[in-house]
Symmetry: C2
Subunit: 746 residues, 2 copies
């Protein structure tokens, strides 16, 4: 066995080691006084209660899906029932990643609040450590899981059968490995949707009665929904985001591996495995880069928190880029490579590196653009602020138009990224760009998860009635957290989009189709139906939040009415009832959208064939990315428009402040935006990835007839033949378009 | 020359004769007392002022576009500078159609109000007559314009050069004819967007200050924006809708003609022209069918207005179907037909008829579904009503989710329609389905235009302080008008979608490409960028309304503040200032979205080639149809949720009525929905059609290299060869999918 196989899992173990050590450090921090511990205990209990309820349901789902997979794996020629094992491990690992994140977040929140009694610097240290535990845990589990399973499957399906790195045996090995990604992404979907519904039902419910009707501040302990609201930050923003990026990370690596099978590197020192292993090794090295970035994050009292996080982020991106350069030079000999089938192109090792750079740039630009559209003081948010002076309706209209307009730049960046990375290295280039972008996932997650921890710390400070300066310090962290949440969303969308495209390409290869022609009516119909799915999915998620929030509103109103002394602070609100409402609603309402994502590709694939399914996937991806950007940015912009008014702004010569009519209108905007940005918007990411993965899993079973792949002795010949066939298929109409791409490379 | 060429223009003249006679009849009706005439005069003047301002700008646009077309026509091999003539005639005809509609609507409104003093039956008669003048005018101009130009161009480019019905000469003739459609659709875009911005700026502005702040009823003469609001009904709902359907109607017929060139009917008695002329003849016969339907619309006092309109509609659809059967049997001999290039299939005359039936069914189903999602008393609207009890935010969330969920059924119907009509007769089948659906456009428009006329009549009755029973009668008509507006939107969306697909198919043929492969990175990027355009377009349109409405709000507030005695009814509001604000805003704000629609396909086509442009068009169409359905239905549902509460409803045991908190929330929903359903939503229809037409016009100039079309002597052979090539190109991957379609037909 070659030592390169062990690089990725080894680095995964390193990440988990960090997780274990750092998590111990966080646990040893002071958790504050009795009251703080009690409140933190409520939050932790609520979070665990939700996870338990969710995982119980997901176990049943896992068994049903596992049985279906077993059936598929037993019947398919290029598959194996062992896919069930990969699937279950993927599901367990994803659940574990969510659990680790949640556990550390519910520990770090109260300790951050306590640390904020001393200094901003310490508070940042505790909260960011919490985030880094989550980030490293997710990355470590992903790389360890994928890497070890690959070793096993490579041994089992390829080495033991004397197969090659490019042959049908490897195809089977990778097909079985896809189960891991399917497991991960399925859990991610339910975690994202369930968590998103949970957190926003609680948030909207708490705000509508608490802030608007009763006029008490956010996180006021008299509000019965306040614990549910804080639990929601953990189950939605921490566990949901973690599962989302875990899924993207795994899916990206996997898709690139699948495409790597079709890449033949002349004189490959690793037995032809280099193009397959490259994404995993880049991910592993990205863990080290993230670690270096994480260790640079430091801030002095009164210092610039955002700047410190940015520095850390840029350090890890840069280290990752440089490391990728050397890895690619080492693993891919500087000869010419050929990729066959779904993307006829020839390219060099340097081209692969350029594709990685494209991915890094796309990710960075997407974050910057997202920040522009959702940041205070910039034109988009200011336009909403202005429109809030004429009432609720114009505020809503303003946010919707900002959201719609905000799709332009991200889509242009994404389109340019696709075209460029494809020019560099064909479909493998698109996939490796995604892999490059995802390399620093651990760092991204650390920055991302720190936000809700700080938010929670502020909530605990408020509920425990800690001194004012504590809340001020956590507010600084929270404000930074809001920005990182926005940029994190941009990153997540970009990664989901590129991942889906990589999966799409892998699907085409596995399903043995080289053309998806939208001028064919069936494919076009698939495109329409696919485009519609993000709409119904968003509609269901949003209406679920609306319904659950209404139930929450009624419960909170009831408690205010029936519990004596609740407003005076002498009666204890029944927090657990609100927690239960959110939990039940989340579990119940996540079923239908989840089922749609899983079942539609199966039905379409088996009844209409792979080309129509390809059209469906394209529709889902395009429309899903658009809806994700639209909803996330509209929500973020409304949120910050409200925050701007709360700070006090002049609109047309009139001062607007907290409590004014303009502020009330801005609260409406923010409330509409809540499910947009935290439920349906982020769910889009998982929706598009999951549908692609499901398609990839069923691909061998719906594949078009073989074109003699097994018979042709040399893969190089086979690939060349296919490349020729692709060219012929497109000539002469498409030749004009294909040629420039090819020309560039010669 | 063959007499069949004169059938369509002849029937077009018949329609215009009806327009002339009926319009005279309407003019001869009593226009009421002095006050009514004065108010109607304000409205008519405002409407004409807007049209003048709009047409002035459009003249400049026409000259620029004309110059560009002249350049294109002079350089292209398969084009001619004469395309400019077609373009200008199309633009003038479209403007004329809008003008006729506006003129009759501003005459019929006051006469309907006066007629309503006597009886409901007379009021319906006047208002529906006004609508029918508009419908017949639009249909007549379209068929007359297209039909006569075709005679001229056929003579000029084909007969005089000895060309055949399937040869390159005919391709040139049809390419030049496309100019007519381009002219029509360009004017339609500006009319729809400009009119949509106008009407909603006035409506939102009038409501926000009048209803919400000052607490005076709708159409109160003390409200300075009330005249602008009523003008808006005419320029947006009448002229905009008319231009929209004029454009769809023309584009559908044209696209089917272009595809008809590639259809060869063995033993065609009309010199090979039958497949080309068929859509025009069906449209002509549809005029007769509509006329029959219009004449059946009658209602007694206290009778069912909706029922009467439905009967008329079903009569015209049925007559149209039966007539199509005989026409197809007569024009297409019952031998086997072959269509080549972009859709390899063989089919019979009966198959073509079945495709027409599919189109009629799709149109009807789309209307029914739209009605379900926007009607009072049905689940979707009730869910919004319920959510309005918990405030503005949940009302908005409720409407957004209804809109998103409402995309499912229409898309499934549309997808099924595409697949079925393609199975029957290839891409020609898809186009002819659209043509069948559009045959009864005159009837649809009559029903549609009657709504705003009745709405205006109610406004005039209110402002002229006519007796209460007059307003009650016009309210009955107005309520029916709201339903027909909703169903009309469903019809318009379906027609735009099918039309775009037909144009898309025609574009592929003209651009000489047979495959649009989304697995190619450039095409995929085109798909993404295309999908984004409806978002930016909607965002711009919505924010334009938001801005214009804010200006209107400020003006109305100013007048209330500065004009003495305005609230007591002794001071005269400065209506004309509000009219000017709406006019200027509409003209200014329609530029950018219009420019995007026109310029993007040109840039993409010339820089990236036809296949990428095809991907772009597919993205625009899918995303545009989804956004159209989402926005129209959300807007319609909010509107009727508000109306439900105004009638008084029980929500959770509490009675909600006009003025309650729930009602205020529902007004917010309705106001958000206004630009959705009347500005950005309907603009989507024209956006997708216009971008397809622009592409079709530039198609010969960006076409892929010829495959010897001119050299092959027999078109049948040529087509067969191409069909073979298409099959080969897709084999073996797509063979599985292609075969069933072919099998069905043997």
């Amino acid at each position: 066995m070659m030592s390169i196989l062990y690089v990725a899992p080894g680095l995964g173990i390193l990440a988990l080691l960090y997780t274990w050590l750092r998590s111990g450090w966080v646990s040893r921090q002071d958790a504050g006084d009795e009251r703080m511990r009690t409140i933190a205990g409520y939050i932790a209990d609520g979070a665990i209660a939700f996870l338990k309820a969710e995982y119980k349901v997901l176990t049943i789902f896992g068994l049903i899906a596992g049985a279906f997979l077993f059936y598929l794996g037993s019947t398919g020629e290029k598959s194996s029932p062992i896919i069930v094992v990969a699937f279950l491990i993927g599901a367990v690992f994803s659940a574990l990643a969510g659990f680790i994140g949640m556990k550390i977040a519910t520990k770090a929140n109260v300790r951050t609040a306590q640390a904020a009694r001393t200094s901003l610097s310490r508070a940042l240290n505790v909260s960011f450590s919490g985030g880094s535990v989550m980030g490293m845990g997710v990355a470590g589990l992903a790389v360890l899981g994928l890497g070890s399973l690959f070793i096993v499957f490579y041994q089992l399906f390829v080495v033991s059968k004397g197969g090659s790195a490019n042959g049908i045996e490897m195809e089977t090995a990778l097909e079985v490995l896809t189960g891991f990604s399917l497991g991960a992404e399925s859990i991610a979907l339910f975690a994202r949707v369930g968590g998103g519904i949970y957190t926003k039902a609680a948030d909207v419910g708490a705000d509508l009665v608490g802030k608007v009707e009763a006029g008490i501040p956010e996180d006021d302990p008299r509000n019965p929904a306040t614990i549910a609201d804080n639990v929601g930050d953990n189950v939605g923003d921490v566990a949901g985001m973690g599962a989302d990026l875990f899924g993207s990370y795994v899916a990206t690596i996997l898709a690139t591996m699948v495409l790597g099978r079709e890449v033949v590197a002349a004189g490959d020192q690793f037995n032809g495995l280099s193009p397959i292993l490259l994404p995993m090794v880049i991910a592993g090295v990205g863990i080290v880069a993230s670690l270096i970035g994480i260790l640079t994050v430091r801030v002095k009292e009164g210092g610039n928190v955002q700047g410190a996080l940015n520095t850390g982020n840029y350090v890890s991106v840069l280290v990752s880029a440089v490391a990728s350069f050397f890895i690619i030079r080492w693993m891919l000999p500087p000869g010419e490579l050929i990729i066959g089938r779904a993307g006829a192109a020839a390219f060099t090792a340097m081209d692969v590196f350029y594709a990685v750079v494209v991915g890094l740039i796309v990710g960075t630009l997407m974050s910057i653009i997202t920040e522009y559209y959702t940041a205070m003081g910039k034109r988009p948010v200011l336009s909403i602020v202005k429109q809030s002076s004429t009432g609720h309706a114009t505020t809503v209209i303003g946010g919707l138009s900002v959201g719609m307009e905000s799709t332009v730049l991200p889509i242009l960046v994404l389109a340019a990224g696709i075209v460029l990375s494809f020019r560099f290295a064909g479909l493998y280039g698109v996939a490796i760009a995604a892999a490059g972008m995802m390399a620093t996932t651990a760092m991204q997650l650390a920055i991302d998860a720190f936000g809700p921890i700080a938010d929670n710390a502020g909530g605990i400070a408020e509920m425990s009635e800690l001194p004012k300066e504590v809340r001020e310090r956590t507010d600084i962290l929270d404000a930074v957290g809001n920005t990182t949440a926005a940029t994190g969303k941009g990153f997540a969308i970009a990664s989901a989009a590129l991942t889906s495209l990589a999966l799409f390409a892998a699907f085409m290869g596995t399903a043995n189709i080289s053309v998806i022609d939208i001028s064919h009516a069936d494919v076009l119909a698939g495109l329409f139906v696919g485009g519609m799915i993000p709409f119904i999915f968003s509609g269901l998620a949003i209406s679920a939040v609306g319904r659950a929030a209404m139930a929450m509103v009624q419960e909170v109103r009831r408690q205010f009415r029936e519990i004596p002394g609740i407003m005076e602070g002498t009666g204890r609100p029944e927090y657990e009832k609100c927690v239960a409402i959110s939990t039940q609603a989340a579990i119940r309402e996540m079923m239908l959208p989840g089922a749609i994502a899983l079942i539609v590709p199966i039905i379409v694939g088996f009844t209409m064939g792979p080309e129509v399914l390809g059209g469906l996937l394209a529709g889902v991806t395009v429309s899903g990315v658009l809806m994700a950007i639209f909803q996330s940015n509209a929500g973020g912009a409304w949120d910050n428009a409200k925050k701007s008014i709360e700070k006090g702004v002049m609109i047309d010569g009139v001062m607007q402040y907290k409590g004014s009519e303009a502020h009330k209108a801005s609260v409406t905007g923010d409330t509409v935006g809540d499910p947009f940005k935290d439920t349906s918007g982020p769910s889009m990411n998982i929706l598009i990835k999951l549908m692609s993965i499901v398609s990839l899993v069923i691909a061998p079973h719906i594949a078009a007839p073989e074109r003699g792949v097994a018979q042709v002795p040399s893969p190089r010949l086979e690939l060349a033949a296919q490349a020729g066939a692709t060219q012929a298929a497109k000539a002469p109409a498409a030749a004009r378009i294909m040629l420039p791409a090819a020309d560039v490379r010669r």
